[in-house]
């Protein structure tokens, strides 16, 4: 059992949880993830390590599906049944020179730990974050602190640059001021944003988020195609070279359980209402 030591809503429907998990924080680094299971009936879901502090690990998620909504309803002092990790390979942190770390939506939460590690390794780090609107932006102050520079974008122009992180990245590429780029967000955002560095050949990493079960290389659910070869995102990744990813395949596989996910959520809400009658 792993206790929730702190929880906050940090943007519209987006939550940060700090969970006591010393076995994760001992070696957990940027790029790695945990797999958690809320209770006996729960599914195993992967969540990227967003930060660690002492024995506590931070995860950030949007409450969109059954499991994330159930998680969001949990309070400080309650416990999560299982937290396994750290899983996956750490980000390729070394002295690259000038780096950009780009986050879209909840993916922004993965950037602070990465930016800090990159700066400690002697890099100059620009953060670029994007969301549909101001209400969905998160961790701005922390990122301002972690990066040398932070650029904010919103699709609707409610804050910062009116447009997408890809626009900002394109400018940086044409100014030839980049050595390595990380893009973390929804698959479609990573696919489109990474086009900006395609011609220049700038090393561009993305953190893939296919469906997983065990997270230890055992089931093959998270198989992705990288440069024409099958890889398991859980043990070979989750970070890969953006320009080698078969994006359409990834997005197709992510949609495998769309129907069941909806059914599960409906079942959860029916069940929740039923329980509410007894309170």
């Amino acid at each position: 059992m792993y206790k929730i030591v702190k929880r906050d809503q940090i943007a519209d429907n987006i939550f940060e949880f700090w969970i006591n998990a010393p076995h994760v924080t001992k070696t957990g680094r940027a790029g790695q993830f945990v797999v958690l299971r809320i209770d006996e009936n729960g599914e195993r879901i992967p969540l990227t390590i967003s930060a660690t502090k002492g024995d506590d690990v931070r995860i950030v998620f949007m409450a969109t599906g059954k499991t994330t909504q159930q998680l969001a309803a949990m309070q400080v002092g309650e416990s999560i049944r299982d937290v396994a990790g750290p899983l996956g390979k750490p980000s390729d942190v070394k002295k690259w020179g000038r780096c950009a770390v780009i986050g879209g939506g909840v993916g922004i939460a993965c950037l602070p730990i990465l930016a800090r590690e990159l700066r400690e390794a002697g890099n100059d780090v620009t953060g670029i974050i994007g969301a549909r609107n101001e209400g969905l932006l998160l961790l701005e102050d922390e990122l301002r602190d972690a990066c040398d520079e932070l650029v904010i974008c919103t699709d609707d122009g409610s804050k910062g640059h009116h447009g997408y992180p890809a626009d900002v990245l394109k400018e940086m590429v044409s100014d030839q001021i980049l050595d390595a780029v990380w893009i973390i967000g929804p698959a479609i955002m990573m696919k489109i944003t990474s086009l900006a560095t395609f011609d220049s050949g700038i090393k561009t990493f993305v953190s893939l988020n296919p469906i997983m079960v065990d997270g230890t290389g055992m089931c093959g659910s998270c198989r992705v195609t990288i440069a024409g070869e099958m890889k398991f995102a859980c043990v070979d990744g989750p970070e890969f070279d953006a320009h080698e990813v078969d994006w359409d395949e990834l997005m197709n596989r992510q949609r495998t359980y769309t129907g069941q996910e909806k059914e599960s959520l409906e079942h959860y809400h029916e069940h929740k209402c039923h329980c509410g009658d007894h309170q």
Binding site: H23, N41, P86, V213, T216, G217, M218, C219, T256
Partner: protein
């Protein structure tokens, strides 16, 4: 072994094989010739005193029978169910020459089940030595090694990466063949000897390698969890599963009870299982219980199936349609599975294993398509690469196994390995046998230090 009726068992995941009654167990035990030089023991990878425990059953002293088995095997309820006795102890039984061999497996299961219902005796352990041992993986190998080391008085910590112990017994073998409460019960017996079990711990990550190597001895039993793929077109479509994923979703995550349990699964109305081993039979029989029409595609002949005869018979009884001498060439559809294209195989000269080498037929009309919406690949697993790859000085064998000597010793003096990670994918009992040897070597090494 007696089995529940097909119509009944297809409705649930309860055990198919029913055990022996006390009376029948005694009658069966009385058949044993008590050979002066028993060949059955040679056939047992963990060298159980088989005539000894059978004699105790014949004398209706079931407690003593359990005691004798547990000298050599702490998981009798498991082995009594999933060991291929017909190829081991029972194959060398002298009675088998003219008649049927003594049903040793059924008797082992009887004793274990009797003891579980009548109160278990925890075996004695040696006085504490103060030595610390790390066991990586809680499958058959890890549990066996842990038992032997605990009995020698060492302090044992078992690390498991999943949220439940048991390895393949838990995530792989379905409940209708290996009931999960029995797995848990036998694991609890081992924990009762004083082992500490750490779930959700990935050794090499949650437990850094230097921390692992600081133990007085290490046993690695991480198994063969890496699924192989056929390498044909269409394997990335939704609805293509490895047997590992399909079985894990059902056995470990209970996707058969979705949405009461959260884990989803594409059940499929028509399912193709590819492969001919026990894992393929398990997958096919699970798919039948989820209500699908099931084809099992195997590239050799039915008589070449590597699965246990009993499992093949169960699958046939349960309505699995065998498509032998055929090999898939492509999965059709996209992004969902819509069918599987196969080619007929002809049998050529035999290889070293004595089995014919299958070769794709070339004449026209050799291909055919099965209309299916789920494909399960059960074509084998390789050793788990994760931990072995993180320990720099650990020598690896062919196909990613950890190289060991006959005592299970690796290239690092105080690190041992056993089970599928050392031998490549094999059976539960072979994993236990190699783990037992390794544990004996660990105990010897620590006694000499």
């Amino acid at each position: 072994m007696n089995r529940r009726p097909v119509e009944e068992r297809l409705q649930d995941f309860d055990e198919v094989a029913t055990g022996l009654s006390e009376q029948n167990a005694v009658l069966e035990a009385l058949r044993c010739m008590e050979c002066p030089r028993p060949l059955c023991v040679n056939g047992c990878p963990v060298s159980i005193d088989i005539p000894g425990f059978i004699n105790a059953i014949a004398n209706e002293d079931f407690r003593k029978a359990a005691h004798i088995i547990k000298q050599d095997n702490m998981l009798p309820a498991i082995c009594g169910r999933v060991c291929p006795q017909e190829a081991q102890c029972q194959s060398t039984c002298i009675l088998g020459k003219k008649d049927k061999p003594v049903r040793i497996g059924a008797l082992e299961r009887f004793v274990a089940d009797w003891e579980r219902e009548n109160g278990v005796e925890t075996p004695e352990t040696a006085p504490a030595t103060g030595k610390r041992i790390a066991v990586v993986g809680s499958g058959p190998a890890g549990i066996t090694a842990a038992t032997e080391c605990l009995r020698a008085g060492h302090e044992v910590t078992i690390f498991e990466s999943l949220h439940a112990a048991g390895g393949v017994l838990t995530y792989g073998i379905p409940a209708f063949r290996m009931p999960k409460d029995i797995v848990q019960f036998e694991i609890d017996q081992v924990l009762a000897l004083g082992a500490e079990l750490k779930l959700n711990h990935i050794v090499g990550r949650s437990v850094p390698v230097d921390e692992l190597l600081a133990y007085d001895a290490v046993f690695i039993g991480t198994g063969a969890g890496l699924p192989y793929f056929m390498g044909i077109k269409g394997e990335r479509f939704s609805g293509v599963y490895t047997a590992n994923e399909f079985l894990t979703r059902v056995n470990l995550m209970h996707a058969n009870k979705f949405p009461e349990f959260d884990t989803p699964l594409i059940r499929g109305s028509r399912v193709a299982v590819v492969g001919g081993g026990n894992v393929a039979m398990d997958s096919a029989r699970v798919a039948r219980r989820l209500g699908a029409k099931v084809y099992l595609i195997y590239r050799r002949r039915e008589e070449d199936l590597p699965a246990r005869e009993e499992e093949v018979a169960n699958a046939i009884q349960e309505g699995v349609e065998f498509v032998c001498c055929a090999n898939p060439t492509r999965i059709l559809g996209g992004p969902q599975v819509q069918g599987i294209k196969c080619i007929r195989m002809e049998m050529c000269e035999c290889d070293e294993s004595g089995r014919p080498v299958p070769r794709a037929c070339t004449e026209a009309g050799s291909t055919f398509t099965l209309d299916v919406d789920v494909v399960i690949e059960a074509i084998g697993q390789g050793p788990n690469p994760l931990l072995a790859g993180l320990i720099p000085d650990l020598k690896r064998g062919k196909r990613g196994t950890i190289e060991v000597d006959e005592d299970g010793r690796t290239s690092i003096p105080h690190v041992f390995a056993g089970g599928d990670i050392a031998t490549g994918a094999a059976t539960v009992i072979w994993a236990m046998g190699s783990a037992k040897k390794a544990a004996a070597a660990i105990n010897k090494m620590l006694a000499e230090n």
